[in-house]
Symmetry: C2
Subunit: 330 residues, 2 copies
């Protein structure tokens, strides 16, 4: 959520000459996404002319250490595959030699399509339905994609993360360490083994969905996308779209709309429906763990905002006690 | 250089309904300017239609504590005055009731015109000339402006800042405290008293000049603008455009071009020319002092980049020993 690498505008302008993208007329460092450096660029377009209402826009991303360069071809191929099948996702742009991955200011760097739309903070029921439908469309479009990427934040990954937090959990809240250990034992015993797997977004928070009104105009930030249980993606999205920010209130109408939207475009098997409460518990634990780890490892006076891990403990407790039928809203 | 106040996109969209600015279609937090929070907005325009190449763009600024709300009318009136006289400066936009200053997310907030152009990092000679010419045009256009604002960073202000740094100067470099004290004594004895005064930008670094090629497309970030010795503005600009970043090398060709550009559009009186070396020493000391203060008061491991105060000590030593004729390049 910051610009980690400052790139002189002259270097960006020179970088753009590799592409049929026109000349640079504006470059603004933007604060968004995972830990990359992002610039919103405006160019004259490949015809060199400035449009009356503004030029062509692109996102320039420089990958900092959190994204592994070796994973970039997977993300690029995935977005090409999804885009070719009608999903509104930002494509990586190839230069005149067909190269999408470049180096800039000593970092792996890519020029990426800019999509309009805003990220809502408090989704309406209509927006939750549209997000569910867009996730289902993405899962349909992903069929036939042959790329594979392991989810580093799967059940074995949660065990590793919990072990790293160790004694420090209880500095966040007394008893948290024991609660996490209990939940991991529960998930070890109940995590489903035979559900359909596919490529999933794995982080489809409202931040990562661009909308205009109730319409989805883009799904972005695929840098956690991986191969995992497909219905787990709906569980992650459920945990991200259905609650108050502090996790204390589940908005049943949003949750129902999200699931209804997903059913319209994709749907769940009987086995997926049966496992859904466990998948939601896993999704809540995943964000509880990464937030706890960041909380423990970020000084309280740092400039980055620490997200409250307990907001996901509250979701976890909700999922652990909810009526399974209520979760899916039908 | 960060987004300090996060504003939900829904709130920005609602905020825009006060203006004839269209509906929000994109909002990106941008990392620029002094310590304000800035968003680059895109809207449908007041006709509600999206242009083919993109919509209308605006800057939304929320003022954090570094800008005093009481100063905002001065800045607004100045940019109106300059804009009406043909200067390329970003105007503050009035809502339907004629109000330019609003509140948003608990902060004073303004909608501001977006200007295209990029900020160069290593100015060419042609760009330095254009910057000098733009400064001179700005000084011409400022004639007749009746607003007044004291420069908090004037000679008395430098004494205050030096006193606050006190013993800590020598943590930056041994002997720095004594050098600053000597320079303050020199400036007390030689600071010119009777030079023409006017409103000045006071911070016209390359960051604050938008360019396309060798053409200036905008002067921005007037939040240090104030009433002071007019030629001091050229001295500040000289210190900002004529040196390598570390201050070790003065690029005489850039300096000469900057001054030539200024002469084309404004010019200096004989008294201003005579005092120019002293004004440049003052400009170098001003940035040395603010950088030293920030250095002392920013932890080394903070996420904000500390700018090296010694880069301005080197400029100061250059100015203290330079041939006056060389400074002005003629």
């Amino acid at each position: 959520m910051a610009v980690y690498t400052q790139v002189p505008a002259e270097e960006i302008d020179a970088f753009l000459t590799r592409y049929d993208a026109g000349r640079l007329v504006s470059a603004k460092g933007i604060a968004e996404g995972v830990e990359n450096s992002n610039y919103l660029l405006e160019t004259t377009g490949h015809d060199g002319a400035l449009g009356s209402g503004g030029g062509h826009r692109y996102i320039l991303t420089l990958y900092e250490k959190r994204v592994d360069e070796a994973d970039l071809p997977f993300f690029m191929d995935l977005l090409d595959h999804l885009g070719a099948r009608g999903c509104l996702v930002p494509r990586f742009i190839a230069d005149r030699e067909g190269k999408r991955l470049q180096q800039l200011a000593g970092r792996p760097a890519c020029l990426i399509e800019f999509l309009t739309g805003i990220s809502v903070t408090e989704p309406t029921v209509g927006q939750a339905r549209a997000a569910g439908a867009a996730l289902g469309e993405m899962h349909r479009a992903a069929e036939g994609f042959t790329g594979e990427r392991r989810n580093a934040l799967d059940l074995p990954g949660w065990h590793e993360l919990a072990a790293k937090c160790g004694e420090d959990f209880d500095r966040i809240a007394p008893g948290l360490g024991a609660r996490v250990a209990d939940e991991l034992a529960f998930l070890d015993a109940h995590w489903p083994a035979d559900l359909p797997r596919s490529v999933i977004h794995a982080d489809l928070f409202p931040d990562n969905v661009l909308m205009l009104g109730d319409e989805v105009t883009g799904l972005i930030d695929f840098y956690f996308s991986c191969t995992d249980i497909r219905a787990y993606d709906l569980a992650v999205t459920h945990s991200a779209w259905s609650f108050s920010h502090d996790g204390a209130t589940c908005h049943g109408d949003r949750a129902a709309a999200l699931c209804a939207g997903y059913r319209e475009t994709h749907g769940l098997t009987e086995a997926e429906r049966a496992a859904f409460p466990v998948l939601c518990r896993g999704a809540a634990l995943r964000f509880l763990l990464t937030r706890a780890y960041d909380w423990i490892n970020t000084p309280a006076d740092a400039l980055v905002t620490r997200k409250d891990p307990l907001a996901y403990l509250r979701r976890l407790e909700f999922y652990a006690s909810a009526d399974p039928a209520v979760l899916l809203g039908a």
